[in-house]
Symmetry: D2
Subunit: 354 residues, 4 copies
């Protein structure tokens, strides 16, 4: 067998950390060398997550206290599955010690410490690293990821919104104004948080919006769209919580750059849109462009790193509706982070993800 890259996960007790464990245990080119968790330090991996107990590659793995020096000795690549604010405290020393860091928190997704403060309500803990960080959306930033030392893996909602919108915006097919993103998220999106709102009895039979009109993820959504559009983009974003465990379904309302029209005119615009998506994603292993009869479904992407995308032009309103579905824990978090690692380390991009 070829050389295995040694990897570590810091903060492996939440849903994203658990998913990283799952993906890295089955990865052909990575060896999970360390997992940390303050809460579980000293326990075997299989004791905390029984479902990994029988995995041959989990044998002997124990949770440890998160210590940068030990992590840097054990691993070449370190995944941070920590709350924002805390992640940055680990990133700086780990990079200093020569590790490549893939951060799943929000700490390095923004270019601006001021916007960070506006949306996250605290000073950025390591602003000097912001410039160095690469936004880890492989379909948009593959080249930069290849060269990165610090990858900021995108948020789940942003992934479901940016992948459908970016190519349209870059191609000038839709206006940068008036974008609306209406998203439905599974409860795991809140993390393994022990709060009343996430009890079974409170989520079951419940559908509700939350965090409107200024959810934190707007900051990275708008920054990435603005970069693509070459002008400031303001987005209307409404997240909802629904009783599924995994998955995000996003419905986007966009204005075509030129009138959609009717009949042949509309058909021509449709061909351009389809052509734009095909050019952007036709060869992407983790983008599934649906045909005109099918619509995205969270069920079809559960446990996978794929995003489903479909679009419809509405001749009655002139709008372009684009829909996407991802698994928030996989493509929306840990799967995408592993995809970035594959690019960074020169592995086949789909390694461990099919």
């Amino acid at each position: 067998m070829t050389h295995q890259t040694k990897v570590a996960i810091v903060g492996a007790s939440g849903y994203s950390g658990e998913e990283l464990v799952r993906l890295l245990l089955q990865h052909p080119h990575a060896e999970l060398a360390a997992v940390t968790s303050r809460q579980h330090a000293g326990k075997e991996l299989g004791q905390v997550f029984r479902k990994f107990a029988n995995h041959p590659r989990s044998q002997g793995l124990r949770f440890s206290e998160p210590k940068p020096e030990l992590l840097a000795k054990a691993a070449e690549v370190v995944f941070l599955a920590l709350p924002h604010g805390v992640a940055a405290e680990f990133a700086a020393p780990l990079i200093g010690l020569g590790c490549q860091v893939i951060d799943l928190s929000a700490d390095f997704r923004l270019k601006s410490a001021a916007v960070y403060k506006e949306f996250y309500g605290q000073d950025h803990p390591a602003p000097e690293l912001l410039e160095r960080a690469v936004y880890g959306l492989p379909e948009a930033h593959r080249d930069e990821i290849e060269e990165a030392s610090l990858i900021a893996s995108p948020g789940c909602y942003p992934t479901s919104i940016l992948l459908p919108v970016l190519p349209l915006l870059k191609a000038g097919l839709v206006k940068s104004g008036g974008i609306i993103a209406d998203s439905l998220s599974g409860v795991s999106g809140a993390g393994r948080k022990v709060e009343l709102d996430y009890l079974f009895g409170e989520c079951h039979e419940s559908a509700r919006a939350y965090g409107i009109p200024k959810h934190r993820h707007l900051s990275e959504i708008e920054e990435q769209l603005s970069l693509a559009a070459g002008e400031p983009v303001v987005v209307q974003f409404t997240p909802h919580l629904i009783p599924i465990h995994r998955g995000i379904l996003t419905t986007l309302y966009l204005e075509p750059a030129r009138p959609a029209g009717q009949g042949k005119e509309m058909a021509a615009l449709g061909e351009e849109i389809e052509g734009c998506f095909q050019a952007a994603y036709g060869a992407e292993p983790f983008v599934r462009l649906l045909d005109g009869k099918t619509l995205p479904d969270t069920k079809s992407v559960a446990g996978s790193n794929v995003i489903e995308i479909a679009w419809r032009l509405d001749g009655r309103t002139g709008r372009l509706i684009v829909l996407s579905a991802i698994d928030n824990i996989t493509k929306g978090a840990s799967g995408q982070a592993v995809q970035s690692m594959n690019i960074l380390r020169g592995f086949p991009e789909t390694a461990g993800l099919c």
Copy 2:
């Protein structure tokens, strides 16, 4: 006890019919005199719906074949819980025989037989009755319901959309153009249909849009909004299916008629909006206007005839976001139909619904 109005339900085997049975069995001024179902004819009510078997007022009730003459003898008010197309075939003879008819299907919700044909794909079975029918949305058409002989009870999606939008449109606070309604529905919205799409295994962990961009309910939504606006209104409507049994959550994206502005200007507009809702619904028993900290939740209206409404002005985008939650089977169907009956028969409007 006062005189009990005798009522009948035609087509009582689906979710709406079952809910009508539930509500009418507990109604203080109505006596459920007949329930029909071709499929169950001859069986006792409690045999088909065990949950009613112990109800004292269900004793002796048997499903019968739906025959207008017998129904007209048994009941003064007849509820039709039938598929569209079929409902109209019963409405005509029943009205001829002197019954008051409350139809839960789509057959009499539109004023125009042509629009009916456009959206339902068939000629209207009784176009001569369209003019006579009253759109049974009590909060909007109470006076007409009082005098009606044929009430067309609104669809579930339309109820969740019209109640929040109508007062704003009538007050001129929002533009009639550019309205977007994004709705999430429980699986019961599809009725008790034995199709692959509605199996537990296909709905569980699934969130998906369907029927876009031209869902049938658009016809009545647009007609009612156009009447209120005094001009044609075109709506963008995206229904989604999520794994709850009962409930619709609708998120509406509206453009204020004048710019939302910032600071005091926005606060002033906010006061007008709140004032508009309070004027329209402050005294309505079945409308719950939420305060600024709370957002609608399908869980909070499950099994009840209440609609929850909340709104937010977004200073960043200038949009007005309005959200609503109803139980699609109660306020979205059978509860609202009973509310109409209460008005029609001069009962307290909340009778049997609290």
Copy 3:
């Protein structure tokens, strides 16, 4: 309207308390005069439980601190929806002040303070009241409930087990040895407890046993069965948690007192069993004896005070299988408590419960 009995609920913030509110707000002969909750003191009822905000009879109701003197002034009947241990501290002063107390906790369900200590791990806080308390299972203890000043409303699992077994045991149709009760409970059975185990993400797609082999409810199950059998009864009881919100399904494995046999012999035994159930429950408003083709389903009793019971003789094993379904919050807790109140106060037993 006739005289309304004034009632109070102490500890109205959990699922049982909330259900008591629901049932008492719609009760024709009770007036909900006070609701207490340390956590919510000062808030309006409709603020904490939005679903009651529109109820005409909830207007003006506010949570207060639980103070026996004030409660005794406000109410004739006081429901205690408190944790065990705490309930007893309220029961004593309230009874001293002349209230009738219906306790939904485990504090007064046992005759013996020693057994209480064995199963609940603490000294009984008010042993002098144990003798006075009546076990509030109406179908078994109706006469005593009529005269009670302190009613100990049964646990949810015990209700689902005792109602099916008691008549068979009293009639000598089954052996008192070897009884097995295998129960499935909805998550609300754990109360509104903010613990990791009850998060949506942990319950969804999960089925698991817990608390075996000596769950606390065994104490009251065995005490009641022993009283009925006239000899000590030991029961095997396995509770499971499944992802429904409300409901308990219990499967009982019993040994007929005489061999079940085959053919006519078995048919004769079957007739005796059916006769036994009919004699015990044929006239009970809240017991639904299912025919030989139907099996209990938690869905059929959700939100209702009914228990469904069915039985099968197995000619292959000689065993009698009895199954029951209840709503754990209604018949298993708050509905049954209201049923007891109806008996105690001389109301029709079904008042407010149909």
Copy 4:
């Protein structure tokens, strides 16, 4: 890469067939050469099951009509995921043409055509093959599977019952009489059947027993237990349906062969039981023996080929309670079938299953 075994799936449209596709697409030593389905013949695999559309190894795979000659040309190993009765019609010609057949239906699980007729209500379609078939429970019949040409993969319930009971029975630690198996199954256990009972609205919030007291799976459960015990074993079996998609949880009530006793005596028996399980399964890759604090949970085995087993001696009743959890579609069907293929073809037993 080593030689890939060519495999085919006949009847790949149900849940088991879909799971076989998932497992075989990721299998390191198998190549999925053909998938058949009358209903989907001609369609691409990724068209019917979108979730496989992006898999590199699914490209070009199309559903075909099931024709033994073509299958035998395309594949060395053929999996039958067909209804009982139909499976046997394919097994015979395929074996004649030299294929190794792994049948997931009930057709070859029994030794006796008479018992088949008793439980399945029809004559066995290929009784001459019964003797040749090997019961494909690897942990019990590994040696026979190695040499088999026809493997009858066990039912889901039987797997969850046999694995815990067989070693105890063989070791003489439990009596062969009086065994009770109480099982909870996810809805996928019913297959992708479009029937009212399996609609979301009918399963949601529902827990119910069915098929008692003589479920078809009893035939293979009793046959296997009888073989192990060396005497006829009769089992009490109660299957229940609960609202999870995947998973079976089984609770077994067993009588120790000698009295459980108390204190040291009970501890000694406990050690023997633990020793028995460790001897039988300590080295099995797909059996997870839980320690004394943990109980099986369907969530912990979802999507995996592992069975979780735990046991408790009850000093109060003298019984031994054993619990198990499996994923009914994986260890209970398709995963186990792939495990058998691995044994049959000399692959590492865990290949493609971790």
